[in-house]
Amino acid sequence: MATELVLTYMSGPHDGETVRMAALGDPLECTFGRSEACSIQIQNDPDISRSHARLYWNNGKWWLQDLGSLNGTYLGEFLRSSKVNSPLVVKPAQIFRMGAARFRLDEPSSSDGRGKAEAAQISNKAT
């Protein structure tokens, strides 16, 4: 089953932009990092590692996993943020952060009206 992944940028140059992607692969995943090979490439942020973190679909939930980044990945922001040492479940509407970049996981259905949704098909990292 291909699950639609909807993310909204919550900071940075794309702040407010929503991306929808058809997550592919087995397990379905979306990778974040500085490298071009990542599903979501984050540039101009010194705190982002080449291959920083990934979201993957398991047991009907999205899990956030740090890929050994130098500066860490955090679930939640401000006071309620915890470092992702082992994979954590991301619930819809939760924000996660790496470097200065923040993303919110949105429900596929609820994202339509939010912000300036851009349907984007981003190719997944080759497995």
Partner: protein, 778 residues
Amino acid sequence: MGQNIETDGWRERSQGLLDEAVDEARRLHHSYLGVEHLFIAMLRKHGSKAEVLVHLFGAEAGQLRDAIRREMGTGNGAAQGVPPLTPRLVTVLRRADQHSGPGSPLSEEHLLQALFEEGESLPVRYVASIGWQSSAVLACLDSNASPNKADQTRLAPNSGADFATPAIVPPSIPSPQSSPPHGHGPAIVPKSEVPVSMPTPTLDEFGRDLSKLARLGRLDDATGREGELEQIITILARTQKSNPLLLGEAGVGKTAIIEGLAWRIANSKVPDVLRGKRIVELDMGGLTAGTTLRGQFEERVKQVLSEATNAPEVILFIDEIHTIVGAGAGSGANDAAQMFKPALARGDISCVGATTQDEYTRFLRKDSALERRFSPVIIKELQADGALLVLHKVAPRILARQASKGHALTVAPDALRAAVTLTDKYVKDRHQPDKCIDAIDIACARAVVRGRNAVSVDDVASVISEWTGIPAGRLTADERQRYAGMEDVLNQRVVGQDQAVRIVSRNVRAALAGLKPPNRPIGVFLFVGPSGVGKTQLAKELATFLFDTPDALIRFDMGEYQEKHMVSNLIGSPRGYIDSDQGGRLSEVLRRRPYSIVLLDEIEKAHPDVYDIFFSAFDEGYITDNLGHQIDCSNAVFILTSNITISTMGYTAAEPAEVRSVAAQFLRPELVNRITEVIRFSPLGTPELARILDKFLADRIERFRNSQNLVVSIDDSVRELILGARFDGRMGARPLERSVEEFFVQPLVGQILSGGVTAGRIRASVEGGRVIFSSLQD
């Protein structure tokens, strides 16, 4: 994206706010313009609606600005020209458009209202996280920032006074941490463990954030340093020269005190004035490293200084601060000290330095303009009990580190105590708590290497034994028994000087039992007597007895010190002379080996000025070397020898008091006065010489047996021949040794070479006034 502030005339209509926002984005090296920048720009404007709003919610605009900046972080480079807007800012601006009407000016209220209606931008999420409710904010804005009388309850006396708008209180008091008003409105207390701060990328790169390490639990409080910490905190609270300079010898714990301060700040155990401060240790080496281009170093230092200036919560800590004098200096370039001076002078930055007294004198004192920016804090060496407390805290960390490498160790509490007492007593050229920590660390490392899992007192003793050359057993063993038999041991080795042995033993025993003043040497003895009666021998044997090795005897032939300038040989050349950076023979040896016997042979031959350096040694227990270091002599024995009485009086008849008064004629009286005991060595009579002869012969026989496999037995006639031939009481035992060579050793060697004697048992006897050797049949 793709839209910029020129779209729809936003720039014009925002009345400069968007320009301010662009400035902020540039400052943070961001290549885009977001809601955050706009919000900060509003907060920067004095008396703006945003500032009033923030005050209404009991916060402080500057702190909120810094908090948002910290959440955003700095970027990699600002865009040239007009930065593109983020989609969210476009949304907010469009919303504001709706409130103001197309083409009309975008007022601050409209923008704020749009911002909080949109409700998902970083600033709004942040204020929500500290307890603001969007509805409350919007209610305030709806009332056009005029007081809502119904909601007005109470307000701190002067919180509204600074602002044009009348004071109101928001519908709900936002922050759960707001304290009851007293004096002024409750300030935002960031709940975050991380204090809010300006971004400091250069400092982050070239510094070590002690406050961060403290929060992560990597640092500990400084034990037993209350007074010093209080002094430092007081200096930091000063309005001028608020730069403490920690002065203390290497290893006394200067860095540990600053780490302790960072720990206290992290754990809120400091007065308000230091709350939220961030101590960053600057790595001067890192700043200099890799600066290949001219001006690169200056640029880094300038960047560091500007970041430290902009982030008032930063306290710079420069360890080994003397390294900033001359760092980066080249032809025509300024050194770091020159660049620090103006910032320090203006009080722009807070800086803590640490260095040793020596280095302070050598580098910082020269630069009085730099020196006067600092307030010195003297850090003294910890006393034994303080050092033990520190060791109790540090030892578990050493064990944990070993455990993390897979070596489980335990350290006996006695071993910790021994590390402190033994290093205190025997290691004089280093300082507490460094030396006791080192001793434990090495003992642990050794246990790991040898595959053991416990560190005992003996392990610690063996480490210190290696440092000092004193046998490990001696460090810990109960010595009383051994010293009781001191005379017997010495008498066996030194023949015929029972009285001298008795006096020396008595004095040494008393001194080691603690009956001497603590700062005096163990003993200062003047041995007087003819040549060859055992004066040097007794000194050697004493070295072996006390310190287990004849190497502990340091011998100076004072005949070499007949010139005044030879003093520099003993304590080093004065400053400005060649080799003034090297120590003297006496001072260096005593520094490395405080447990020694210093033998000053033929003291009367030395130049009287040479005596001067011994006055303080004999009286106060230290000598001062060329560099001004005090070198401890309180664990040394000084033995002066002289044969002055020979020519002046019959030494056989001289009583100690008489000898002392004669000595006073030849040496300076003040020197003689400082001598514990004047000991007269008796000339050797025939019975003593016979015993010495036996010792000599036994020694030679042993050598022949080992090297030639010869077992020699000697007739009494041989003994009589040797004794009779060269007996001359005035010359002591030395002629006897020569006679043994002449009458016994050389003839026997001749026989061996000619083949007359081969391995086996032989007998030496006298025939015709010569020693002959005959083989004995088994």
